[in-house]
């Protein structure tokens, strides 16, 4: 017996796809429960939405609700597309779109609450140039704070 309940964090990066493929292999040989999530609770989101409004520059005119809707739509689309990878192999997966927590916050909370025993993440996210800074740091924070094993896929 290896892992019973796996949590996988995804974004639109290629590393995420490789992470999904690893999870699919694990699932095929071990029959474990898999939950896949994508978070749109990125720390820069409120910033993007509020900066133009705060500065009073009318021409930007970004509507926070519209922006959020777009994020949601893109997030759900990503989850649906990636779910296909599981469906193609006839494997079950639960998907979740996380609105108000960063990936590391969500992982930290949910691993304990729902008893996951493995977290899988890609080593670099979509924020390519800044990845050392951004999703690299997600991986780092997860390793520091998660209460279960963490697999980082390259």
């Amino acid at each position: 017996m290896i892992y019973k309940k796996i949590l996988i964090a995804i974004d639109a990066s290629n590393n995420s796809i490789r992470a999904i493929e690893k999870v699919i292999d694990l699932q095929k040989s071990e029959n474990c429960k898999v939950v896949m999530f994508h978070s749109i609770g990125h720390p820069t989101r409120p910033l993007i939405a509020t900066v133009p409004m705060a500065s009073g520059v009318g021409s930007f005119n970004i509507n926070e609700t519209e922006l959020l809707l777009e994020y949601k739509e893109a997030g759900n689309k990503l989850l649906l597309t990636r779910q296909e990878l599981f469906n193609n192999k006839e494997l079950p997966v639960e998907t979740r779109l996380i609105l108000d927590e960063t990936p590391e916050e969500y992982i930290e909370r949910i691993v304990e609450e729902q008893g996951f025993d493995l977290v899988v993440i890609g080593s670099k996210g979509i924020h390519s140039k800044l990845s050392q800074f951004f999703l690299g740091s997600v991986a780092q924070r997860v390793v520091k704070h998660a209460v279960c094993d963490v697999l980082i896929v390259r």
Binding site: M1, I2, K22, D25, L26, K28, S29, S123, Q132, G136, A139, Q140, V143, K144, A146, V147, C148, D149, V150, L151, I152, V153, R154
Partner: protein, 152 residues
């Protein structure tokens, strides 16, 4: 049976989490019959000799300390090897003297084609050292060219 990882490099340091890592790797090996290499680095036990004026440097004491940490390292490798032997598995062990764990991992993973590195999430270093230097796991995470599993 799908073999996910064929060649696994396991880093140990005598911490509880490293022991759990060895247990987990043994499970993998049972399932996938992966080749496993386990190593322990004693590099960080070395004292940078340049810190002392040559004439006052206690050469004998320094050599004794180095010998002691090497012996302790060898013992640790043998003890951890037992985890595998008891399950009828075998591992190759290596005592690394010249490289820090993260440096050795970076060097060897590509040279010898490992596809997974496994280590414990918290080593034996003090809190202060973690803050100042960052943990080994963080450094490995940044530099390893293959998948990394951090075990708790």
């Amino acid at each position: 049976m799908i073999i996910i990882y064929k060649k696994i490099l396991l880093a140990i340091d005598g911490s509880l989490h490293a022991n759990n890592a060895a247990e987990q790797v043994a499970e993998f090996q049972k399932m996938w019959e992966s080749k496993v290499v386990m190593f322990h680095s004693v590099k960080h036990h070395k004292i940078p000799t340049g810190m002392f004026p040559v004439e006052s440097f206690p050469v004998e004491l320094y050599r004794d300390m180095e010998e002691a940490s090497k012996k302790a390292g060898e013992l640790l490798l043998v003890e951890t090897q037992e985890i595998f032997n008891q399950k009828g598995l075998s591992v190759e062990t290596r005592l690394i003297e010249e490289d820090e764990p993260e440096v050795y991992i970076r060097k060897i993973v590509e040279k010898e084609n490992f596809d997974l590195v496994v280590l414990g999430s918290k080593g034996r270093h003090s809190k202060l050292k973690e803050i100042l230097l960052g943990t080994v796991s963080t450094k490995v995470l940044k530099s390893a060219p293959c998948d990394v599993l951090i075990v708790r």
